[in-house]
Every structure is written in structure tokens, then in C-alpha cells.
């Protein structure tokens, strides 16, 4: 809704500007295409935040508020304590980057807390980006920093407090390298020897025989002009159709695999569980709308924004097409 409103606003502004430009063309522009962007319009998309705090909005949020939001919307993927390595872990590993087993986490790797705020605001939660209020983003930022013992449990973050946060890896980055310009100085200096270049060719690494097919049938993948294509083009028909398309578009497959569990159970597992249960469809539609936990393990499913009609199609597909 937010998006369509902003689109409507943009279109309205464009119409007004078009009329305006008829009145007096902007002679400073060589081509003059497009329309002037007003400060109000720009404010809708100009959400970036720099390390110096430029772009941070007014607002505030506490660690405690952040924990409540995190448990409801983030913990299913990132783990209760930000420990899950299914995605890049949020917490832990501070001081480990120089070791033989570096733990790359938000806490151990990030140099500026402003970037954490920027990223949550634009891209999280994964299945509903840009759905959080400014205060919620401050609160979540505070909680993630607290999970890393960077701010205390009673911390409240606002613009000023966030800029003042010093991340453990603040000084862990360098731009002293040759990759910033096409004429940058390389860090290797190989020479193009042509004959008798080495007498010592040793095997350092190869794929173990048992792992040769870890990427599927590589003979099939490298073949040319196959004639035995009877099955090559055919997706399992049960997995296709409108239900599959809606499930894909609605982001269901981010947490549920068709035939293997990810954060939530596999859809085929759900189908098996409810086989023969006449009330299953109604139950599952409600569950998708309202969220729930406990049927397939501890991970909670957050409430979903899809329309009831779409959810019904998806549920029908799971229950009746995937068995």
C-alpha cells in the first residue's frame, strides 16, 4: 500500500511538472527529459545512512523493545541469540578474524553501526523489507548491538547515540590495495616463463572420488546434443502450477523447501502430516495468516501478508498436489 501510494504521488508530481515545464522549459538542461525531483519526493527513497551519520532519521528505540521485535520477526532465521550460521551470524566471534578459524559475524566484522541501521531499514525482515518503523529499526539495531555486548541491556539508541557507537572492528579495514583503480598496483608479480619453468609439479588438491557427483551427474551437465531427452525437460508436474508460482512469489520458499526443510518444514512433510484431515485447509490458511509455532518444531512462523485467496491456492497446492 505504501508503495502504490508513493507511485501515485510520483505520477501526480510528474503530471504537475510536465505542465510546469510547458510554461517555462528548463534552459539549463541540455536535453530536458524527465521531471524535477522535489525534496518531498526524494525523501521517500533517500534512506541511505553514511558512517558519519548523514541520512540518519530522528527516532529512538531501546534494547528491550528491539528484543520483542527480534523474537517475533528475526529469530526464526537468525537464532534466538543471533547465533545461527544458516545466514551470516549476527553475534559472536569478536576478535577471531586474525585466527585460523575466523568467525565472520555482524559483531565481529562490521566497522560502523550506522551500516547495520541502514541495512535493517532497507532490507529486513527478509520476507517483508521496509515494513519496520524508524523507531523499530533503532530498537532492533540496539538489540543486535546488545547481543554482541557492544551496548548495555538498558541502552536506548537515537541518532546521536548510534553515531557514537564504536564497533570492535572499526579499524579492521584498509583501502591500501590496488583494486580501487584500473591502474592500481597489483599485489602479485608473476612472470611469463615459457620453457623449463619448473621441475617440481606437485598435486596440492583434488576432488575425492566419493564427492565427484556432489553436484549431480556431471557427465550429463557437460554432454552435447543429447538424444535421450525424454525426461530432461520435464519438471515434476506436481510441483508446478499456480500454487508453486504463488508460493515462489510470496517468498514461502525462503523458509520451506518443496521436499526438504529449511527453517520451516518441507511442504511434502506438511502434506503428509495432514493427509486425510478434512479441516486441514482451513487450519493451514489461518496459520499462514496469523503465524504459529509448535507443529513442526520450535521455530515460529511469522504472520504472512498474502491475500486469503492466494493463501488458499498455496495451501491447496501443498495439501493436494505434493503428496
Amino acid at each position: 500500500m505504501c508503495r502504490s501510494a508513493s507511485v501515485a504521488r510520483v505520477i501526480a508530481a510528474a503530471a504537475i511538472a510536465a505542465v510546469a515545464s510547458l510554461a517555462h522549459a528548463d534552459t539549463a538542461l541540455r536535453y530536458g527529459f524527465g521531471t524535477p525531483a522535489t525534496a518531498v519526493e526524494i525523501s521517500g527513497w533517500d534512506i541511505d545512512v553514511r558512517p558519519d551519520g548523514a541520512g540518519l532519521p530522528e527516532g529512538r528505540g531501546s534494547v528491550a523493545e528491539g528484543q520483542a521485535i527480534y523474537d517475533a520477526k528475526c529469530a526464526t532465521c537468525h537464532g534466538t541469540f543471533g547465533e545461527s550460521t544458516d545466514y551470516m551470524a549476527i553475534a559472536g566471534g569478536v576478535g577471531s578474524l586474525a585466527s585460523d578459524a575466523p568467525m565472520r559475524t555482524t559483531g565481529s566484522k562490521l566497522n560502523y553501526a550506522t551500516t547495520l541501521f541502514d541495512y535493517i531499514r532497507r532490507a529486513m525482515p527478509f520476507n517483508a523489507p521496509k515494513s519496520l518503523s524508524t523507531n523499530e529499526v533503532y530498537a532492533l539495531t540496539a538489540y543486535v548491538l546488545n547481543l554482541n555486548d557492544i551496548v548495555p541491556a538498558d541502552a536506548v539508541l537515537d541518532r546521536r547515540a548510534l553515531i557514537a557507537v564504536r564497533m570492535p572492528n572499526r579499524d579492521g579495514f584498509t583501502t591500501q590495495h590496488g583494486f580501487m583503480r584500473a591502474d592500481g598496483r597489483p599485489d602479485t608479480h608473476a612472470t611469463a616463463c615459457m620453457t623449463n619453468c619448473t621441475n617440481d609439479v606437485r598435486l596440492l588438491s583434488q576432488i575425492p572420488e566419493y564427492a565427484r557427483n556432489s553436484h549431480g551427474d556431471i557427465a550429463e551437465q557437460t554432454a552435447r546434443g543429447r538424444t535421450n531427452v525424454a525426461t530432461a525437460n520435464v519438471e515434476p508436474t506436481a510441483a508446478g502450477g499456480a500454487g508453486m508460482e504463488l508460493a515462489t512469489r510470496s517468498g514461502c520458499l525462503a523458509c520451506h523447501g518443496i521436499d526438504k526443510g529449511i527453517v520451516g518444514p518441507a511442504f511434502t512433510e506438511v502434506a503428509r502430516r495432514y493427509r486425510g484431515d478434512a479441516t486441514a485447509a482451513a487450519k493451514l490458511v489461518r496459520k499462514v495468516q496469523e503465524g504459529g509455532a509448535g507443529s513442526f518444531g520450535a521455530a515460529a512462523m511469522p504472520p504472512q501478508n498474502a491475500s486469503v485467496a492466494d493463501i488458499r491456492v498455496i495451501v491447496d497446492w501443498i495439501l493436494h498436489r505434493l503428496q
Binding site: Y31, W45, Q221, V229
Partner: protein, 429 residues
């Protein structure tokens, strides 16, 4: 080439039956195929027959209004590397380099890397906003963008993490997975310099441009102004048609020679500023961990790199004798000057032929003759770009950068051919 054996070389991913191969089965397959070949010669006493398609009408026009590959090529597809990512929305698919010719990647086979899935952008509702340190902040429709003076250029896009799985050891079996986060297209669009001039960039203060996508991740990357004013394009065309959704439909940035993530897809906003943004994709990701625990940040350039695509991992040489070694070379610093090929693990090298056109920051196809004696061989290619930079070995790279950096692995690739003709991925040093 002095004495090439009479039998022509053939490469196959044989045996044709699927499933795991054993040495015995493989040996039998080779013996069988050679026997079949010689038998066929002996029995060629019948006139050539007309196969069914020669004796019937074919399909009418518009059987496929948008043409698709022959059904026998159904195995030439993008693939994912199992276990690499946790969701299909924030993931990567790899280009099947082993199956492609020339330098242009078919649009439908160009590798994908998305951070929040592929958005379904409605083109007439899409807008590009340009603002920040400019005289006249401006909002553009797609129609506006297409009206600007346009250019078409051929450039590669390579993910900074291409070959990243192989820093410590061999991890994946074929060139699709070792080097397939790589594509090369003819891109059409507006030079970013034209747009920045139009809005009146404040050259006294401006140093960087932030590019932002319209996907769920609204991915952001910092582009240095010097680069932005040089050869960066705002692109809507790919290989003669509008961009594919997976490649940023309807509008993307194209930063030639720079790691793919900077070529922001579904481009909706360009902000001109005086300092880099340190975005999530240039602090938590796309930074290179060095020994000692320091990360290199803003590692934009893709250094010169090459790989043999045939013969390559997973293939099988069915015959001794002539084989053309084929591969790709490229450099983010400009043109490919030369490619050398070794078949003995780097002891001796010969210079390959380069197929024109040889374009800056584009894939270049190289080829060289090879007569396989049947003895085990170690195939390598080594590119030298127009700056004189020589592609390093994995040993030379590790000596400087260790094995934890994930990004920018441009090491020389080695394919081992064993006595049975089986080609596998190995690292030597």
C-alpha cells in the same frame, strides 16, 4: 604441429548412461566406442538413408513465437551449487561455460546473483531518481532514459566471489561451478556521464555515486566518480533486447571491469556524494579478509583471469590425437594481450590464438591445437593483459592473501587429464 595421429579427437561426457562411473565401466565404454567406430567403417556398404525428418514436413513458423534452444540441448542450463546458500532468493546460479562458444553469453544463461529474489518491476511505473550533489535533481521514466543518446558495448560481468570456493582446496567438479559466475553481453544504454552532466554534478565537491536497486534488498554500492564519468553505463538493452528480469529489467548499472555487485540491477536511484557509503555490501560482504585479520575494502577491479573451457572438468577424451583446447580470458584493467597454454602443469607454455574482436573488459576467446598422446596431462592457461599483468598461480596468490579472502581468486586453473581421458579439477603447486 608435426605428426598429428590420423584418428580425430572427440570429447564426450561419456558413458552415455547416467550414474556414477567406475574405472572398469569407463574402460569398457572407451573400448566399446572405439570398436563401434571401426565396425561402422567396415559396414558402410549401404547408401546413406534419409532419416524421418528428411521425409516429412517440419514445424510451421511461429511454432515458438519467442524461439528456444533445440530440445536436445536441454542440459545446457544455469545450475546452483548444492549447499552454497540457504534460500533461493539470496543465492547464485552459474553459467554453463563448458557448453558455450565465442564470447557472448546467451541472455538466458547469464549467471544470476540476487539478494532478495527477482522483482517483477512494472516498466512504466519504474523511475530513476538522480540527486545529491547535483544542480537539478531529476526523476526519469524509462521512456525518458531511452530518449538519451545511447551506446552499445560488449563487457563481461564477473562476480567478485567467482572461484571463491577454491581458495583453500578443490571444491567443485566442473568449470560451470569453478568459473560460472561470469557472463559477457552486448549492453545498450546511456553513458552515466551523460546523465551526470545533464543534472549538473557538482564537480568541486562530488567524489562518489551511490547506486541503489529497486528490489527488496534495495542493494546499494558506492561507485567512485572518476569511474562513473569514464565508462559506466545505465543499461536497458542486453544482446539486442530489453534486459532479462534476472539481469535487472528494466534498468541496471554496468560498471565495466568491476566486480558484478557494483552493476546494480533494477536501478532506481543514483545519489552523488562526497564520501563512500560503507554499505552492507561493502563492509559485511564483498570485502577481502587478509592474513592478520584486516579486510581490504572497496576491492572493485577484477584482475586478469583465464580458464580452459574444453577440455574441462567432467569431460572425457574419447580418443588420442587432435583436440582443440578452447578457453576464455578477460581483464578488468583492459584488453587481453596474450594467452599461454601449458599441457604439462606449467613446465612449458605455448601461446594460443586469440579470436577477434579483442575488446577491453570483455571476454576474449582463445584456442590452441593439441595432440593428446594418451599420457596423463595437466592443462593450464595463463593470461597477460595490456598492462603487462600476468595471471598468478594459486600458490602465488595464497602467499600474499592467504586462503580466507573469498573474493578475487584469479588463479591459474588446472585440469588433469588421466590416462583414461578423464578430466578432473586439481590444484598443483
Amino acid at each position: 604441429m608435426t605428426s598429428l595421429p590420423k584418428v580425430r579427437g572427440r570429447i564426450k561426457a561419456a558413458p552415455e548412461s547416467t550414474g556414477r562411473r567406475t574405472f572398469i565401466a569407463r574402460g569398457a565404454a572407451i573400448a566399446g566406442s572405439l570398436a563401434a567406430a571401426s565396425r561402422a567403417h567396415a559396414m558402410d556398404t549401404e547408401p546413406l538413408a534419409d532419416p524421418p525428418w528428411t521425409r516429412t514436413l517440419g514445424a510451421p513458423i511461429l511454432a515458438s513465437p519467442y524461439g528456444v534452444p533445440a530440445r536436445y540441448e536441454a542440459n545446457v542450463v544455469r545450475r546452483q551449487s548444492p549447499g552454497l546458500t540457504r534460500t533461493a532468493q539470496s543465492s547464485v546460479s552459474f553459467t554453463p561455460l563448458q557448453s558455450l562458444f565465442g564470447i557472448i553469453t546467451p541472455s538466458g544463461l547469464h549467471y544470476e546473483r540476487h539478494h532478495a529474489g527477482v522483482p517483477d518491476v512494472v516498466p512504466d511505473q519504474h523511475r530513476l531518481l538522480i540527486h545529491g550533489l547535483v544542480r537539478a535533481p531529476r526523476l526519469y521514466t524509462m521512456d525518458d532514459i531511452v530518449r538519451f543518446p545511447s551506446v552499445s558495448r560488449i563487457h563481461f560481468i564477473e562476480c567478485g566471489a567467482n572461484t571463491g570456493m577454491e581458495w583453500s582446496n578443490v571444491a567443485v567438479p566442473t568449470v560451470q561451478y569453478t568459473h560460472g559466475m561470469l557472463g559477457c553481453s552486448e549492453w545498450t544504454g546511456v553513458p552515466l556521464s551523460v546523465l551526470l552532466d545533464e543534472v549538473g554534478v557538482d564537480r568541486a565537491r562530488a567524489r562518489f555515486v551511490l547506486a541503489e536497486g529497486a528490489d527488496g534488498a534495495s542493494l546499494t554500492r558506492t561507485i567512485p566518480l572518476a569511474m562513473a564519468l569514464d565508462d559506466v553505463l545505465v543499461v536497458y538493452g542486453q544482446n539486442g533486447e530489453m534486459l532479462r528480469p534476472e539481469q535487472g529489467y528494466p534498468l541496471r548499472l554496468l560498471v565495466p571491469g568491476v566486480q558484478g555487485v557494483s552493476s546494480v540491477k533494477w536501478l532506481r536511484r543514483l545519489e552523488v556524494g562526497d564520501a563512500p557509503w560503507n554499505t552492507r555490501e561493502e563492509s559485511l560482504h564483498y570485502v577481502d579478509l587478509m592474513p592478520g585479520g584486516i579486510h581490504r575494502q572497496y576491492t572493485w577491479i577484477q584482475e586478469a583471469k583465464s580458464v580452459i573451457t574444453s577440455p574441462s572438468g567432467g569431460q572425457l577424451l574419447l580418443d588420442r590425437g587432435y583436440h582443440e583446447i578452447r578457453g576464455l580470458a578477460w581483464s578488468g584493467r583492459g584488453k587481453v594481450r596474450r594467452v599461454d597454454v601449458s599441457t604439462d602443469g606449467g613446465r612449458n607454455w605455448r601461446t594460443a590464438k586469440l579470436q577477434p574482436p579483442i575488446l577491453p573488459k570483455a571476454l576474449t576467446r582463445f584456442r590452441i591445437d593439441w595432440a593428446w598422446s594418451g599420457a596423463p596431462a595437466l592443462l593450464q592457461s595463463r593470461v597477460i593483459d595490456e598492462t603487462g599483468y600476468v595471471q598468478p598461480s594459486i600458490r602465488e596468490l595464497r602467499a600474499v592473501r592467504g586462503t580466507r579472502s573469498i573474493y578475487h581468486n584469479n588463479a591459474i586453473q588446472t585440469w588433469r587429464v588421466d590416462a583414461a581421458g578423464d578430466v578432473t579439477n586439481v590444484q598443483i603447486g
